[in-house]
Amino acid sequence: MDFANLASQLNAGTILPEGIVILTLLGVLIVDLILGRTSSRWIGYLAIAGLLTSIVALYFQWDATNPISFSGEFNSDDLSIVFRGIIALSAVVTILMSIRYVEQSGTALAEFIAILLTATLGGMFLSGASELVMIFISLETLSISSYLLTGYTKRDPRSNEAALKYLLIGASSTAVFLYGVSLLYGLSGGQTELGAIANGIANANLGQSLGLVIALVFVIAGIGFKISAAPFHQWTPDVYEGAPTPVIAFLSVGSKAAGFALAIRLLTTAFPLVANEWKFVFTALAVLSMVLGNVVALAQTSMKRMLAYSSIAQAGFVMIGLIAGTEAGYASMIFYLLVYLFMNLCGFTCIILFSLRTGTDQIAEYSGLYQKDPLLTLGLSISLLSLGGIPPLAGFFGKIYLFWAGWQAGLYGLVLLGLVTTVVSIYYYIRVVKMMVVKEPQEMSDVVKNYPAVRWNLPGFRPLQVGLIVTLIATSIAGILSNPLFTLANNSVANTAILQAATVVSTQASAVNTEHPEGL
């Protein structure tokens, strides 16, 4: 094998964005070693610059003629590019949030950013990984970094407890996932590449065998853990409450997007033969997540716990698009995850700001905030209302598109349940808005009475303000000006080869479904 042949086999240009992230990561570490804590004033911006460069590099990868690289281990198609962009973006905003937060907790910022970038790297590789070992390694990179980040504020017992819980549950669910993956390897006669696995299983006539079903269930257990779908959600509320808030912001968007990227790629390419089975399983997960997430969120008193259950519920909404399995279904998932990034990160930025100024994040302590901090009130209200799907905000269009795609694919029950649970969700989102806006001045909480004067020129507050305003504007207008994002989501699905074969199968299935109501 001569060199040119090898280079074309490797096709290493496809992982340029990840390469840039790796360079940034090493740069951050080395700068920290040489300069020590003095560098923490600008090291965050270095990391952000690296991530933005990586996003630009992703843009140039769009519609590449030859996306397959590393002899089939990594697929840099448009689907992976969108997800890698989402993960990188969520890391950018997370760094903006964490500059002040980590400094205030008295820990090193550069180490935090280095671990965060490693998690980003894992997530980005996971979005394009199309081979079992590669999937597992990138999943582990993401998970192990997440455990470290969760327990980063090591003097706080709650953070320690959260890290331990997350580690035990995460490691065991990864083990379950690994067992499912090893079954796949055995069933397909030793194939590890996803497309080859499907062919191998089909050739061995194991298309409906019990082994394949067990492998499927085990794999879904691993995926469900990452996207925090009920009943694999138990870690979510405890981890969200204990971990540092910027970490939660990353886990709720970046880690979840990586989980969904894995779900789309793995289920459509490796399990086309049992498509109905995994759709059935995911229907159950979606129903459980929507009901449980939204109903239990009603009874929360802590802001971070409430958002934990809310993120379980939002995962349930996104799964509607996955179950639909049409082009519109996948595109609506991508669109929703894009706007979910803006909404959630905007909300978490406001929560961080509040807890930096007051040191608490109980919902009751927010009462009467509009007088002391109107910008924070506006930001948190808009992001929560958008999460509840109120027009004309981004979340409304995201939900409409999801429901529309679900209805088009004949998932009437799921869409109706989604509508009903959306109504439930409006109730607990509006409760926070009520605390902030409706309460009279004499009903202010003690914390708000002693609220410090709002100053943006303190160290580390500028990036928070920039992150807040950018995500706030995006949340407000990404719905009205949604056409570019829609085009992006639709194109990324339309130009992705692996989804074309899958959608043909499912459109036939949905055609059968849509004929059904005629016979009512």
């Binding site: 209805w407 109504v423 409706v438 829609f486």
Partner: protein, 500 residues
């Protein structure tokens, strides 16, 4: 042209919200009042441009928006919506006028009112189902805030109740809209592209019921009305005017535009049941109002009763009945506005809404004579006394419905009688009798507090004496709508009505 009605108030609302803190409330009120006056004049200008003889959509505007979803920015006005738009901008102006000079947190208050006004105008103008739904849901949060910040004692409860009911209503409507468009295989939500002819009858009825339930919460129809007494009573007077005068009309408008006009076949099938439903609503509203001890609650329940007539007229779907239905929407909006405004004034001056505590307000020197006189006028208009707009619209409704549904129409006539009963009780306990000498030191009623009621009273009398001005706009449109609906089995209906 039409977009101004939507965007001018919304942009102004955003502008008011960011005004500096040191501007006094009455200055902000004046600014909002001026602007809503400009919008009202713009609306009248559109009315001049409006061609009465054209039954279709006029002055259309179109912008492509989101092709993927089938959502486009398509506006148009026809004979039904032109009146609703006028009502909306008139009542917005009245609501701002009748708000107190010292409103707490004025910037938020007036910007929310203007925002809602723009949203409602958008819903009346929208010619795309999704666009309508977007504007329909736009009212949710501002009204929740308007009720729960500037309300009475139980405002928090009332606000949340309103929020949940309205959100459920939105979910039902969205589900039905998705069903209509998707099951017919259309890819666009534009109103003229949607046709339900291809669907099976059972499916049509299911979707139509979804739409009727969704809008029935908003109207509200018995038994979906339980949010209304709380929300109307806890809201301050200007907000109650907007809630009852404008938001309830969104519901009836939705039933006419998206229930009747979209489902002509299914409509004729379920019309008999709807007529009964309307009659029951009317009777229920009147009977419960008789039992109330609080004048605001009485007016709130009167609203339920008057909305029943509209459902009856829509069910009858004769050209005359439909003209009556639209006239009744306008009349009810004006009459409810005057009643809520006067009740608000009485509560502000006397400090009570209890029937047992109020007395002798007619007393010329120490009472509130002009306010009481106007209250008598408003109550008479509401009860359907000839010479005022309430009688005109109710009479057209009964005249148009009697040939189709005699029994429900008679029940509604009985309800009108009961309406007179409770309004007489109300007037008797508040305006007549003797003043309590220990308590009667009421503050003066300022002229700006009398003005809105005087304007509305003039309007009520004028439309009652010159009803052409009320009905001429809608006739071609309503006739065109009715023409699409299969004729009801006139001979069979009395038996059906009796059996059900």
């Amino acid at each position: 042209m039409l977009s101004v009605l939507i965007w001018l108030p919304i942009i102004t609302a955003a502008f008011i919200a960011v005004l500096p803190l040191n501007i006094p409330a009455n200055r902000i009120r004046l600014g909002a009042l001026t602007l809503s006056g400009i919008i009202l004049f713009w609306n009248l200008f559109i009315l001049l441009k409006f061609d009465i003889n054209n039954p279709g959509m006029q002055l259309q505007e179109y912008l492509p928006w989101n092709e993927t979803l089938g959502l486009s920015y398509k506006l148009g006005v026809d004979g039904i919506s032109i009146l609703m738009l006028i009502l909306n901008s008139l009542l917005t102006w009245i609501a701002i006028y009748s708000s107190s000079q010292q409103t707490e947190r004025p910037r938020l208050f007036y910007s929310l009112i203007l925002f809602v006004s723009g949203g409602v105008a958008g819903a009346f103008l929208a010619e795309n189902l999704l666009l309508f739904f977007l504007f329909y849901e736009l009212e949710l949060i501002p009204f929740y805030l308007l009720i729960s910040i500037w309300g009475g004692q139980k405002r928090g409860y009332a606000g949340i109740k309103f929020l949940i009911y309205t959100a459920v209503s939105g979910a039902l409507i969205l589900a039905s809209f998705l069903g209509v468009v998707w099951l017919t295989g259309s890819s666009s939500f534009n109103y003229d592209a949607v046709s339900t002819q291809a669907l099976s009858t059972a499916l049509q009825i299911t979707l139509l019921l979804g739409i009727i339930l969704g809008f029935g919460i908003k109207i509200p129809l018995v038994p979906l009305h339980t949010w209304l007494p709380d929300a109307y009573v806890e809201a301050s007077a200007p907000i109650a005017i907007l809630l009852g005068g404008v938001l309830a009309k969104l519901g009836t408008y939705g039933i006419l535009r998206f229930g009747m006009a979209l489902f002509p076949q299914a409509w004729s099938i379920i019309a008999p049941s709807l007529a009964i439903w309307g009659a029951v609503s009317a009777i229920y509203g009147a009977v419960v109002a008789i039992a109330q001890k609080d004048i605001k609650r009485m007016v709130a329940y009167s609203s339920i009763g008057h909305m029943g007539y509209i459902l009856l007229a829509a069910a009858a779907s004769t050209p005359l009945a439909l003209v009556g239905a639209v006239a009744q929407m306008v009349s009810h909006g004006i009459i409810l506005a005057i009643l809520f405004h006067l009740v608000g004034v009485v509560e502000a001056k006397v400090g009570s809404r209890e029937l047992d505590k109020l007395n002798g307000l007619m007393s010329p020197i120490r009472g509130l004579p002009l306010i009481s006189a106007l209250l008598v006028l408003g109550a008479m208009a509401s009860a359907g006394i000839p010479g005022m707009t309430g009688f005109i619209s109710e009479f057209i409704v009964f005249q148009g419905s009697f040939s189709v549904f005699p029994i429900p129409t008679l029940l509604c006539v009985v309800a009108t009688g009961l309406t007179a009963v409770y309004f007489v009780i109300l007037l008797n306990r508040t305006c007549f009798g003797r003043l309590d000498s220990n308590l009667a030191y009421y503050p003066q009623v300022e002229w700006h507090e009398k003005m809105p009621a005087l304007i509305l009273a003039v309007l009520i009398i004028f439309l009652g004496v010159q009803p052409t001005w009320l009905v001429r706009w809608t006739e071609p449109t309503t006739t065109a709508i009715v023409a699409t609906i299969p004729a009801l089995e006139k001979t069979v209906t009395p038996q059906i009505a009796l059996k059900e």
